[in-house]
């Protein structure tokens, strides 16, 4: 059986639409007011973001935070560099090294002697 509508079927549908439109225009005032109140109540609700959007946003924020931490956080110093200040401290404070500093002229002379001859 063909399900194509004939011309008179289409005209019937147009007449039905016209009648239905009339019922909307002549709607009872109390019903119209209740619909209006329902609409305003619905508009008070805040649109909720979809779960997928929330996950995507959360992932993006977490990624940015991780990147920022990586870029701006103080880099861990290598073992060699980390040890330097302590070595310097020992060098300055030990008695031997104070004597070493006093003999600095001798060491300069020794170095010059090595290069020249």
């Amino acid at each position: 059986m063909s399900q194509e509508l004939h011309q008179d079927d289409r005209e019937f549908a147009i007449r039905a639409k016209r009648v239905l439109d009339c019922t909307v225009q002549e709607m009872d005032q109390p019903i119209a007011l209740r619909l209006q109140r329902g609409r305003l109540a619905a508009l008070e609700r805040k649109p909720r973001r979809s779960v997928r959007m929330m996950w995507a946003s959360g992932f993006a924020v977490a990624s940015m935070a991780a990147l920022a931490l990586y870029v701006w956080a103080p880099q861990p110093m290598s073992r060699q560099h980390a040890a330097v200040p302590l070595d310097d401290f020992e060098l300055v404070t030990s008695v031997e090294n104070v004597e070493l500093a006093e003999d600095l002229e001798f060491f300069h002379w020794l170095a010059d002697d090595d290069t020249t001859g």
Partner: protein, 203 residues
Amino acid sequence: MALPRSLTSAYSGQCSLSGRVSTLEERRALDRFLAGVERRAFRMAQIATGHDDEALDLVQEAMLKLVERYGMRTEAEWGPLFHRILQSKIRDWYRRTKVRSRWRLWLGRDEDGGEMDDPLEAIADTVTPSADHQLQTKEAAAALDAALRTLPLRQQQAFLLRAWEELDVAQTAAAMGCSEGSVKTHYFRAVHTLRTLLGNHWP
């Protein structure tokens, strides 16, 4: 609830907004959209349920869900989404009512003291135009309502969405959650049943 982009084409002409707008503008746009659709939505729900209060509840629930879940979507998407939500709520109501009627029948009692919750009972009550309906249009509307209520729900939905909302087959299928072939069948049968019920001289 995802709708193919093509389904929103019929609504795209109703709006000039294409992307996100400020919250105030979005709210105004939603208000305009709902104000434009609420009365027809109420009539659809009223025809399906036979009750003003039930119909008002269903429309309000549909409006709430649209604002809450899909208010962030573009304006062109609201029409198909709203109809899908509303038709889904009508179907749920219909199923609940049928189950309730079956239980009531099985228990052999009428909980509401004669108040008619069963859609089939509501049909019989509205077939005869009341004395108040003197105007021809009101009589025609009453007759159409009554005839529509005799249809199975799917045929009723297909007829109202296709003939009244003027959705195309694809949009109607999306709103009803069925195939395009089913929409064609339901619509065809609905038109022929209604014409038989209402006669050649209607309205």
